[in-house]
């Protein structure tokens, strides 16, 4: 074989090998110690991988990319800020967990009808103690509430209750009504019946009593908490429940197509005024069986859930100071 032929063959083979092997080698080298997570709409598989492991105190390096549309990446019950995950782009984040447990990462963008199914878990082990900390059961369980049962309001107001007007009668209220325990365990309609039966308030008209209920509900929340609740509601809930709480969000039709039910309408007094904060807590924590309502337990901290609940009641009660 001629030298020129040998050289030409070597050149062809070298060119091919170079172009195929160099990128792979670089990618392999760069990928050491990094977990690459691909986001796809839930219908196409969701996060991949959807389960990863980490150690307490050891930085976890993540490279995030989307294989289809824009997604958002957040880790529940952590203070990691939300990260945008753009199609075809890599976003790198590093997280260090300081306590063991199972953390849920989820999509924060309304990427598709099953957007809320885009979830994965990070098993964090190690640290001072791997033993699970004792956790007190949530209030809805302590109260033994059946959160799947219908909860129609026993009574509804004839006009929209106002916390501001209610404040004028606050002095007549027994302090037991203003406690957090009372607020969380009672629905507004139960509270209305309790107040109506209270002889100390017998001189008040029905609308005045409803105003007092609104006052109790406002007294158990803070403007900051409601603002936080509004922000989280807009990001996580309004896709189904609608920005104005009417159960008419962009995904409401697809929820109806999947379950035969529309998302809860918080502007309907007959529905929301029959639900206690504890019952709403249960629905948010565990999700609604057969309703399409996702579970948020692994994602939101307790206080966050109470903030969202505080905001939800503003769909019924007027003049809440923001």
């Amino acid at each position: 074989m001629k030298r020129s032929e040998i050289l030409s063959r070597l050149l062809v083979i070298a060119g091919v090998l170079l172009v195929l092997s160099v990128p792979l080698a670089v990618h392999f080298y760069e990928g050491q110690g990094i977990v690459e997570i691909h986001g796809r709409m839930a219908e196409s598989g969701g996060w991949s991988p959807n389960s990863i492991h980490a150690q307490v105190g050891v930085p976890l390096h993540l490279r995030l990319t989307s294989d289809d549309v824009m997604h958002g990446f957040a880790i529940g019950q952590s203070d990691m800020p939300v990260v945008d995950v753009a199609p075809g782009k890599m976003t790198e984040v590093t997280i260090t967990f300081n306590k063991p447990g199972t953390y849920t990462y989820y999509c924060t963008r309304w990427c598709g009808p099953n957007h809320w199914r885009m979830r994965g878990t990070i098993e964090v082990s190690g640290g001072s103690s791997d033993a699970p900390q004792p956790v007190s059961p949530p209030l809805y369980m302590t109260l033994n509430l059946n959160i799947d049962a219908p909860h129609p309001a026993i009574a509804t107001p004839t006009e929209r209750p106002s916390a501001l007007r209610g404040a004028a009668f606050a002095a007549m209220l027994s302090s037991s009504y203003l406690t957090n325990d009372y607020y969380r365990a009672h629905s507004p309609s139960q509270a209305y019946l309790d107040l109506r039966a209270d002889p100390a308030l017998s001189s008040l008209s029905n609308p005045n009593v409803w105003d007092l209920v609104a006052y109790i509900w406002q007294s158990n929340t803070t403007p900051e908490g409601r603002a936080e609740g509004q922000r989280l509601f807009a990001r996580n809930c309004s896709a189904c429940h609608g920005e104005s709480g009417g159960g008419d969000g962009v995904f409401s039709a697809s929820v109806n197509a999947q379950t035969g039910k529309f998302p809860a309408n918080f502007t309907d007094p007959a529905s929301l005024l029959g639900a206690s904060p504890a019952l709403l807590q249960g629905k948010i924590l565990r999700g609604g069986m057969g309703t399409g309502m996702p579970y948020w337990g692994p994602i939101f901290e307790n206080e966050t859930i109470w903030s969202i609940i505080g905001y939800i009641y503003t769909f019924q009660f007027d003049e809440v100071q923001k």
Partner: protein, 446 residues
């Protein structure tokens, strides 16, 4: 009026020397395999993957806006697809080896010695084009399939049968190469007639027999000459020339072949369909074209095929018949039909140029992004990965497209008049046909 480029010794030795071409092949083969690899293992997001961006935006822009109009089959001269197959077939990469390897070297069946199969493969690719253009994995599969098919055919058949009879790209490059201002021709046909052994066709120690199965002495148009330069190397009489010539010089001799006529219809119709589907405002049409395998997609396929193989040729046939009636001609309609289809060659090319201008200028910014981060792995090789999408020359686009389409129409009218004189038939109905389709294309693009 022709100017021989090979009279310059520098040009001639550059073209005869195998090394420059081999370097071209190696670079192209590397790029081709890189595109396949990025398609398979890179991001599935089409506009961020080198595979789709390189092939369907960068390569396509160079091919249809520069290579084909100005160099004809210039791309075929460096296309890497035949290289691996030819290596096996010839047993060498450079000069012919002293001992030929034993291969089947079968002749391609006579009945398939036309471009109907190329018409079919192009149509097949066109039917799936929305998916191929946007899905890197599918692009990679198509590229890999072409490579494997070319290798397989080189093992079984002689010469470049894949390029000549099957390649979906080669078919339309050949059609539009007729308009290019470059040609390979013999200097004196008499020399070829008396040449012993015809090494340009049969090969010699200096080079291989024409890989495109063409006898250069009989070349009258660019369609089937792949500009591989083998005949320039093998001709013992220095009788091969590369000439500069006026644009569209080949169109003076109208084709009489139906396969070539239908290639013109397929290309003309596909440009119009693409303009509607890829650039038009019809979302349902777009999603039907994309939803391969669905009822809507089958509807799109039927409409596509009916338009290209039914409506366009039928209207053209009517125009040709009308011309025959007006001229009281007895020339067989089949011949006239094929001859007048030559007028659609410049028109179709300009349709593709106008469509591609829009497509390429809108998406060209992805080239910089994908070149810096070819796999979508977060690389930034040239510092351009973070650029955002933006269309280029938006204000110049519409006037440019109008100019191209009107220019294409005038070119087509001139060609129709030439063909009319040749076959002695009134060209006005064909000119009206060209005007009508140009109006439709203008409406689709502007």
């Amino acid at each position: 009026m022709r100017s021989e480029l090979t009279r310059f010794s520098v040009v001639k030795s550059l073209l005869k020397n195998r090394w420059p071409q081999l370097f071209g092949f190696i670079v192209m083969l590397a790029g081709f395999l890189y595109a396949i690899m990025t398609g398979f293992i890179g991001t599935p997001v089409g506009n961020n993957n080198f595979s789709t961006v390189f092939v369907w935006i960068a390569w396509w822009a160079i091919l249809i806006l520069v290579a084909v109009p100005f160099f004809g089959r210039g791309w075929c001269a460096v296309c890497p697809i035949p290289l691996p197959g030819e290596w096996i077939q010839r047993g060498a990469i450079l000069e012919p080896p002293s001992r030929k390897p034993r291969r089947f070297n079968l002749r391609w069946p006579n009945k398939l010695r036309n471009i109907w199969l190329q018409n079919l493969t192009f149509t097949l690719v066109a039917l799936f084009s929305t998916v191929i253009l946007t899905t890197p994995k599918v692009t990679a599969v198509v590229l890999a399939a072409m490579l494997f098919l070319a290798v397989g055919m080189s093992i079984v058949f002689e010469r470049r049968t894949f390029c000549r009879y099957l390649c979906p790209v080669s078919g339309f490059i050949g059609l539009y190469a007729q308009t290019a201002p470059v040609e390979l021709r013999v200097k004196d046909k008499q020399v070829c007639i008396t040449c012993k052994g015809k090494p340009c066709y049969n090969g010699s120690a200096a080079g291989y027999g024409c890989p495109w199965d063409v006898f250069p002495g009989g070349l009258t148009k660019n369609t089937y000459c792949g500009l591989c330069m083998e005949c320039l190397r093998t001709c013992p009489n220095d009788n091969i020339a590369i000439n500069l010539r006026p644009f569209a010089a080949d169109l003076g001799q109208p084709s009489r072949k139906l396969d070539e006529a239908f290639k013109a219809f397929i290309m003309l119709g596909a440009a119009m369909v693409y303009a509607g589907v890829l650039l038009g405002p019809w979302g349902e049409l777009k999603s039907a074209a994309y939803s391969v395998g669905t009822v809507a997609w089958f509807g799109y396929v039927m409409a596509f095929l009916a338009f290209i193989f039914g409506l366009l040729p039928a209207l053209f046939w009517l125009a040709v018949k009308l011309g025959q009636v007006l001229s009281k001609s007895n020339v067989p309609a089949r011949h006239v039909f094929a001859a007048f289809a030559t007028a659609l060659v410049p028109l179709g090319l300009m349709f593709w140029v106008a469509f591609s201008l829009s497509f390429v200028l809108t998406n060209a910014s992805y080239i910089f992004i994908a070149f810096s981060d070819p796999f979508g792995w977060g690389w930034n090789l040239f510092g351009t990965a973070a650029l955002t999408w933006q269309p280029y020359l938006t204000t110049a686009l519409v006037p440019l497209q109008t100019l191209v389409l009107v220019g294409g129409l005038l070119w087509s009218v001139r060609t129709a008049q030439k063909v009319g004189r040749e076959v002695k038939i009134q060209p006005v109905p064909v000119i009206v046909f060209s005007m009508l389709v140009t109006l439709v294309m203008l409406g689709l693009l502007l």
